[in-house]
């Protein structure tokens, strides 16, 4: 009897604690969303993947660099905001954004297929998904991929395209195997090592790899085509508008072109100001 009573008390205590905590949490999150907090001195938390050359990566000096990082810093300078880098794991990007550890996902982020999931900035770059293979592999068309092993980075647009019924799922089902990697670097290393036959990848990332290694080549046929944008929380219209205004101004005064010139492999794909 005594034991049962203690157990009952414990259960009540747990429910009570949870209820109190939930109540506190609910109250806390509702506040502060209405007033404008984007004045001078606002800390702009830029969420990105540090393994996405040439948009965001560790540069030769060991600093965070890339087209998106430089652009985000330029937007901060434009408004007098403070820039804060929030490198995250790509597969946790939604949780990071929603939980508020960053204010946007800005890291070669594909709009197509995710139109309703985020509040999107104007598209700033074109992107195409390609299949990259070794030159001597004998694979020349998408149809040649039947029975081959293909690699892709997890949670990327190429990965989603291959798993999308309306995308290239049918093609994917002809593969012998779809290997899902943490990063494209490992996928491409595996391709070179002969463990897989092809990599499904964004064209810009593919060009980056091909520039370093001339034994790699892309198929003529595209896997898909799409645009990059900056993803914001859906209730963050004000921040999204502000960034759009800044992007337009930076395109007009030539800043965008100047930054793009640092990344020749993607320069022609940048659509801002064109």
């Amino acid at each position: 009897m005594k034991k049962r009573l203690t157990a009952l008390m414990l259960v009540f205590a747990m429910i009570f604690t949870m209820a109190v905590l939930t109540a506190c949490g609910g109250g806390g999150s509702d506040e502060g969303s209405s007033d404008s907090k984007y004045g001078e001195g606002f800390v702009f938390k830029h969420g990105f993947d540090l393994d996405y050359r040439p948009y965001s990566f560790v540069d030769d000096n060991g600093e965070n660099g890339g087209f998106d990082v430089e652009m985000a810093k330029a937007v901060c300078d434009f408004y007098g905001w403070e820039y804060e880098a929030v490198p995250f794991n790509w597969d946790a990007k939604d949780a990071e954004l929603n939980a508020g550890s960053c204010d946007c996902i800005w890291s070669g982020f594909t709009i197509n297929g995710r139109e309703d999931d985020y509040l999107w900035s104007e598209p700033y770059s074109d992107n195409t998904q390609k299949i990259m293979v070794k030159k001597d592999s004998g694979i020349a068309t998408l149809a040649d991929l039947a029975g081959k092993k293909v690699g892709v980075q997890t949670a990327t647009s190429a990965y989603e395209l291959l798993n999308d019924e309306e995308g290239q799922k049918e093609l994917m089902e002809t593969f012998a195997d779809l290997n899902v990697y943490d990063t494209y670097t490992i996928a491409i290393t595996d391709l070179n090592a002969g463990a897989i036959d092809a990599v499904a990848v964004d064209v810009t990332r593919a060009q980056e790899a091909m520039a370093k290694d001339d034994s790699l080549v892309c198929l003529e046929e595209n896997l898909g085509s799409e645009q990059y944008g900056i993803g914001f929380r859906k209730d963050d219209q004000e921040l999204c508008d502000l960034v759009n205004v800044a992007l337009e101004a930076l395109a007009a005064d030539g800043t965008v072109a100047k930054i793009a010139a640092n990344y020749p492999e993607i320069e022609e794909y940048i659509t801002l100001g064109k």
Binding site: L21, G28, V58, G62, A92, G100
Partner: protein, 215 residues
């Protein structure tokens, strides 16, 4: 990127790894003792709670626990977790390691024969005095090798902080390796972990040696 740039970039990660390591030890060594003592509490609900805590901490991957500590406040309560990344890592590590240390302590405490408690009582020691002056000095000596084991594991486990994209040595090695298409960063990380553990071994051996009382 030159080798020296690589090394200096990674040194910031080494400092962060050291921080996780040091704060985890500072937090979990004493907390483990409290947990071990509560585990022997006469009050059944406390005992049950502690048992469940140890069981969960040891029974689920630390990687998963880190994710829960970091994202939990948002998913459960909708809180904004702006600067919660580092604290979440420390909370996760301390609570996890405290559970392991508690069991090591318990093993040590239970290895002391009951006769010693009775003798102490006869000699007029209070319970607190008995524990601090008679039991604890022996326990510390007995558990030292197991503690060394855990500490060495901890050095390597710090790399699990990469799950939360914390920029410690391992995360940095991964990122630099990715952007520089080089395996050198992993080699540097490997040497770093080995040297760190070598230092731990030497320090722990010293401590063990300094405890050769009751020979």
């Amino acid at each position: 990127m030159t080798f020296s740039t690589m090394l200096s970039t990674m040194s910031s990660g080494m400092w962060k790894t050291f921080l996780i390591f040091a704060l985890t030890l500072i937090g979990s060594l004493p907390l483990g003792m409290i947990v071990a003592l509560l585990r022997k509490s006469r009050f059944a609900p406390v005992r049950g709670f502690i048992k469940a805590y140890i069981s969960i901490m040891r029974g689920t991957p630390l990687m998963l626990q880190l994710l829960v500590w970091y994202f939990g406040p948002y998913y459960l309560f909708g809180w904004n977790i702006g600067n919660w990344r580092f604290p979440a890592i420390i909370v996760g590590f301390v609570l996890n390691y405290a559970a392991y240390f508690a069991e090591i302590y318990r093993g040590g405490i239970e290895s002391i024969p009951a006769g010693q408690y009775e003798a102490a009582e006869v000699l007029g020691f209070t319970k607190f005095q008995t524990f601090m002056r008679i039991i604890l000095p022996q326990v510390v000596k007995i558990i030292m090798p197991s503690v060394t084991n855990e500490v060495i594991t901890l050095v390597k486990d710090t790399s699990l902080a990469f799950t939360l994209a914390y920029q410690e040595v391992f995360s940095l090695a991964k990122q630099i390796s990715a952007s520089q298409t080089s395996f050198m960063p992993f080699l540097i990380a490997g040497v770093f972990y080995f040297v760190a553990n070598y230092v731990v071994e030497i320090v722990m051996a010293r401590i063990e040696k300094s405890m050769d009382y009751y020979k």
